[in-house]
Subunit: 213 residues, 2 copies
Amino acid sequence: MPLSSAPEPMLSFWYDFASTYSYPAAMRLAERAQALGVTVAWRPIILGPLMFEQQGLSDSPFNVVPVKGAHMWQDMARICRAEGLAFRRPRPFPQNSLRAIRLAHAAQDQPWIDRFTRAVYETEFVAGRPIHEPAVLAGVLRSLGLDGDHWLARAEDPAVKASLKAQVQEAKDLGLFGAPSFVVGREIFWGFDRMAVALHTAAARSSRAMGGH
Amino acid sequence: MPLSSAPEPMLSFWYDFASTYSYPAAMRLAERAQALGVTVAWRPIILGPLMFEQQGLSDSPFNVVPVKGAHMWQDMARICRAEGLAFRRPRPFPQNSLRAIRLAHAAQDQPWIDRFTRAVYETEFVAGRPIHEPAVLAGVLRSLGLDGDHWLARAEDPAVKASLKAQVQEAKDLGLFGAPSFVVGREIFWGFDRMAVALHTAAARSSRAMGGH
């Protein structure tokens, strides 16, 4: 068996910082993927265009249908308790995630993208700070030893904005309609509750591809 | 500890035969509840009024948003494979469930409600037969050794129709918005993927109430 160089991503993870269920997914994905030998492509997107164009929603479905929202907050509290994660309801909800998502997109192939993603989610769902503010995002970058000014400027680069638009279009073309979503081959897994199955599907495919058992 | 007579239901299960994810829930609930010592109240409802009044939907969300539907069919196939359940896509989808739900409502406190419920779901999702037809429902009843004519007539009783309406209103008042839903105390658990947590929550409450450990 030839030694491979950089492994092909086996699973892509599509998330938005405005999405509540993406928070536990982002916090637990890297460690669980590593345990199964699955490589992950991090794919930050803004959900707004998917929600609006496919579903006619101009606000979160959890705000549009209040009983659905009430269940989600109860359910998120249960999930975070079970996962050992702190959880604070962002106010207002949803947070404006555009700047943070542009920043994550600019950095999505950096080796620190998973740490950055987790740090933004913790800023939002644990510290309860406003993630649209450049100063808050600069603080996150600095806490990871990164150059805040450089990356905040990159996030405003027209090429990055255009590239994010293309990535949102790619999400639509894949058939995604919400977050978190996991894609393995042509299969879509939607929701934090589908992460384990998505990871095991990716691990099984990879073991087959390598002639494993 | 006094011997109790009929045990209080610890978990109520709200379902519609038109709901896909209610199928695996209905097939597995009784055995898993029994294993945990949880008593179940079976609460058949029609989802239409909840979907329409709360969410403005006049068709299944899986038809209104086709990409969401595509994921659901893929996801249902995965769940049924994992659960060892056969699965056939009902055509048309959703099936008109009103008569079958009235029938189930008329019988919801009968000792055979779980067997009847499973038999209707199998007729729909395994045999692929039209569950709105009286002859099909009569066949289901006969297969359980029951009087088909009697129960089909009961289902059309104005008192049963009125009682079902009241039960749908109760579902709304509880804050339900979809099926399957599980209610334990004042907590709502929505979706087949939340059934295990709902059952364990019910079992834990019951063990606390009995002074257990």
